[in-house]
C-alpha cells in the first residue's frame, strides 16, 4: 500500500491543525497576550504546550521501544547534540518574528483555511525567509 504513509501524514497534519484551532493558536491576539507577561496576560498557551508535552512525553518513549515505525523503515530523529551559537541565534530571530505578529509556522499554515490579505502576507514572507535561508545554508555547509 504505497498510499498509506501519506494518508497517515494527512491524518497527523489534520489532528495537528485541529488542535491549533481548538487551542486558538490561530488567533495572533491570543498568542501576543500570552507573550505579554507584564500587561494583559493570557496564560492559555502555557496549557497548550503543557497538554502537548504531557501526551507526547508519555507516548514518545513507548513508541521508541518499537524497532521501527509502522509505515517506514526506521525512526528519523535529530542526531545532533551539541549546543551551538547557531541554535540560540536562530531561536532569538524566530522569537522576534513570533513576538512581532503572533504567528509561528504551524498557525501560519493552518490559517490558510481562512486566508485573507494579512495571512497571505505573513505566509509569503515566511516562504521567502525559509527559502532564502535554506539556500544560503546549503551553500555554506
Amino acid at each position: 500500500m504505497a498510499a498509506l504513509p501519506w494518508i497517515a501524514a494527512l491524518l497527523a497534519g489534520t489532528l495537528f491543525g485541529l488542535g491549533l484551532s481548538v487551542a486558538q493558536m490561530i488567533d495572533p491576539a491570543k498568542v501576543i497576550n500570552f507573550l505579554d507577561l507584564f500587561g494583559t496576560w493570557d496564560p492559555s498557551l502555557a496549557l497548550v504546550m503543557f497538554g502537548g508535552l504531557v501526551v507526547n512525553a508519555i507516548m514518545t518513549p513507548l513508541i521508541l521501544k518499537r524497532k521501527r515505525p509502522i509505515l517506514a523503515e526506521h525512526f528519523r530523529l535529530p542526531t545532533k547534540i551539541e549546543i551551538d551559537a547557531r541554535l540560540i541565534i536562530g531561536g532569538i530571530i524566530f522569537g522576534i518574528g513570533w513576538g512581532l505578529a503572533g504567528y509561528c509556522p504551524g498557525p501560519i499554515i493552518t490559517s490558510i483555511s481562512f486566508i485573507n490579505m494579512d495571512i497571505l502576507t505573513v505566509l509569503l514572507a515566511f516562504i521567502v525567509g525559509t527559502a532564502a535561508t535554506r539556500w544560503v545554508l546549503s551553500k555554506v555547509s
Partner: protein, 146 residues
C-alpha cells in the same frame, strides 16, 4: 499583570490533540512533527523523493482548520484579526522563516517534540525563542507603543 481571556479547557484539549498528532506521526512515519522542518522540505527541498508525506501533512494542517470551522466547535475564526501593520507582518514572516531554519525548529519541533524527548538542544532553543518573543512583545507594547 492582569490575567485575561484564560481558556484552560480548550487549551488543554487543543494541546492534547497536538501531542496526539505528533505521537501518531512518530509511530506511523518515524518523523518528528516539526512544522518549520516539514514545510522547509517543501519550500526548498533537499530530497525530492521525500515530498509526498510532507505535502500530505501540510494539507492536513489546513484541513484541520477547515474542519474546525465547518464543525462549529469552539469560538470560530470570524473575530481573528492581524495584530500588526503590513510592513510588520512582512518583517515578522521573514524573521520566522529565517530564524526557524537557522535554529532548526520552532514551537512544535523544539517546544513540544524536543522537550518531550528531553533534548537539551530543544530546551535551549525553546528558552531562546520564548525569551526573545517575551522581550519583543514587551518592547512593542510597553516601550514603543506605550
Amino acid at each position: 499583570m492582569e490575567i485575561i481571556n484564560f481558556t484552560p479547557i480548550s487549551s488543554l484539549i487543543g494541546g492534547g490533540l497536538i501531542g496526539l498528532a505528533a505521537a501518531f506521526l512518530l509511530v506511523a512515519k518515524g518523523r518528528i512533527a516539526g512544522i518549520s522542518g516539514i514545510a522547509g522540505g517543501i519550500i526548498y527541498p533537499e530530497n525530492k523523493g521525500d515530498m509526498a508525506w510532507r505535502i500530505a501533512f501540510v494539507a492536513g494542517l489546513i484541513l484541520g482548520g477547515l474542519i474546525y470551522q465547518w464543525s462549529n466547535i469552539g469560538v470560530g475564526v470570524e473575530h481573528i484579526q492581524a495584530m500588526a501593520s503590513t510592513p510588520t507582518l512582512i518583517v515578522a514572516g521573514l524573521l520566522v522563516g529565517i530564524g526557524t531554519q537557522i535554529g532548526t525548529g520552532c514551537t512544535s519541533g523544539h517546544g513540544i517534540c524536543g522537550l518531550a524527548r528531553r533534548s537539551p538542544r530543544s530546551l535551549v532553543a525553546t528558552l531562546s525563542f520564548m525569551g526573545s518573543a517575551l522581550v519583543t512583545v514587551f518592547i512593542v507594547r510597553h516601550l514603543v507603543g506605550g
